[in-house]
Amino acid sequence: MTILNDPVSAKLGNRQQLSYIASQAADARLNVELETEGMTLNIGPQHPATHGTLRIIARLDGEQVVWAEPSCGYMHRGYEKLTEVRTFPQVTSLINRIDWLGSFANEVPFILAAEKLMNVEAPPRAQWIRTILFELSRIANVSLFLGDLGVQMGAITPVFLAFRDREYVLNLIESATGGRFHPNFDRIGGLKDDLPAGWIDETKVVMKKLRNFCDEIETLLFGNEIFQSRTRGIGVIPRDVALQYGLSGANLRASGVDWDLRRDQTIPLAYDKVDFKVWTHPDGDSFARCWIRLQETREATKIVDQLLDGIPSGPVMAKVPKIIKVPEGEAWVSTENPLGEMGYYVVSRGDLGPFRVKIRSASFNNISITPWLLRGVYVPDIITILASLYFILGDIDR
């Protein structure tokens, strides 16, 4: 009876309450049966289900996880230290390798932080193009997630669809910036270049294709009974736990927190010029997280369409000195990246390079909840829970 009076379970919805009670019961049972030796299962660092080199060490009791801990650091590249020996314009070529699937989005908050310190604002056209490329990175990133999701559960088809349709977006990014994965296109004060001719029409065609892709994934995957039974009620994160661990992006919104940095902060990007919906889900389970990402991909295509219609003319570069010295000060800028909140705390000493850059990446916080979340789940659910949390290794280790 104590479980029903539990303060955490009282706050949850009906469905969540049931799964919470089930997990508490599993916990209680584990505590009784813990005399058995148990077994340690090592997953990774090289494992197709771990998106890179994340290693998970799980102690099992039968099929249930008693204790699990991800082991990071197989891809630590020390970007925070390296930024200290780079000049401000050089830093973007490093940081767009943090989340390599949505790399343009990594450059934006850093450039915005530097611009904030310099008191420079990019011209409107540059802001709009930045926003468009930002959303394209999101689409490229999340569409791969949607395809990969199927693979984690044994469905092969979605990943082929995802790779096919992501290619269209990558081609767009390539034709605008010159780089498929690492555009390095954002500059302090604007952008490297303007859009190529015909790009806008081409993008509109691709956005239609991507909306079709979302529909396909929805019918193929989200309506699938196996998919639903493997994600519904699995890996439930309540709202207050999500906030405590600093979860962000779709993971936070899936726990019912209505918070999107594109809408809820004043930032020199064109998000205030477009009309879009921020989706939330009350369940907080694996299904909710995946569903939110699907809806966000759709919203992103709509944002791009709206921006393409109203893109202002003018220069894409503000007047900035050739040799960029950023005035002394501290600035924090974060944006709603494909994986969640990505922010840079930049300390400048009036020098050519930053004095200290703290990179707050979304996946580091998102994955730090796993020791809490994986306790008591069954082994196959480890894979679906990790897949639904969605992380990029470079974004954890930096």
């Binding site: 003018g314 050739k322 390079g353």
Partner: protein, 239 residues
């Protein structure tokens, strides 16, 4: 696949002064006043940049209690990140010195940033109110020598990994942290890589190629003033 690019038309742009943020920020000022009332003597210094952000520096002793109070009283319930800043200027500069030349003389004075500081290391935590979306940066000095401060794991469970990271990168001890194992580095790694006196070994082993392959920086002293070059678009070649 690469159609010709359109060149953006260049026109004179507004000066930064015209787009500057408003001078008064009533919301943040009120918040800082409320925080001063709640925390009392724990607050050392505060700073509000209108329309931008809040910085609050609290005493080392009240670190955990202050964050608990900010969470409970002012609903800063979202844990964004925890890190540290080493305010000592790097004795190695940007690692671009020519090894055949005598070492240049560098500034060794420790100058803290916003809201001041008395020690070399400083803690930095960012919390956000998940309803009003107002953020706050909280700083606290970490005593020289011991480099130890209270852990805030009990306040925000998410601080666990961030403190582990700060421990291995900056060598800061967290009293009350359950498990300060290394996250990234090998167990027997010596030194704290993010400290400014830890050399970037890549630059030590092989000197920066820029030393031998010197290219003049684009533009002389004149160009630095007027900014954009002839086509007015690319101005980034400084590096």
């Amino acid at each position: 696949m690469h159609p010709p690019r359109l060149k953006g038309e260049v026109s004179p742009l507004s000066s930064p002064a015209e787009t500057a943020a408003p001078i008064v920020d009533a919301t943040r000022d009120a918040m800082v006043a409320a925080i001063r009332t709640t925390l009392g003597s724990a607050v050392v210094d505060t700073l509000v940049k209108p329309g931008d952000d809040i910085w609050v520096r609290v005493t080392t002793e009240s670190w955990r209690a202050s964050i608990q109070a900010l969470k409970d009283t002012h609903s800063f319930d979202y844990f964004c990140f925890l890190s540290a800043i080493d305010w000592m200027p790097s004795p190695y500069g940007r690692g671009e010195d020519d090894p055949s030349e005598p070492a240049p003389v560098r500034d060794t004075v420790i100058r803290p940033g916003y809201t001041g500081g008395d020690t070399r290391m400083q803690m930095l935590v960012r919390l956000v109110n998940s309803v009003t979306h107002l953020g706050i940066n909280i700083k606290a000095d970490v005593p020289n020598g011991s480099f130890t401060i209270d852990s805030i794991c009990t306040v925000f469970a998410g601080a666990n990994w961030h403190e582990r990271e700060a421990h291995e990168m900056f060598g800061i001890g967290f009293t009350g942290h359950p498990d300060l194992r290394n996250m990234y580095l090998p167990i027997d790694f010596e030194g704290y890589p993010m400290r400014k006196d830890f050399p970037l070994l890549a630059r030590m082993v092989k000197p920066w190629p820029g030393i031998v392959d010197v290219e003049p920086l684009p533009g002389g002293t004149d160009d630095e003033k007027d900014g954009a070059n002839e086509d007015g678009v690319k101005v980034e070649g400084a590096s």
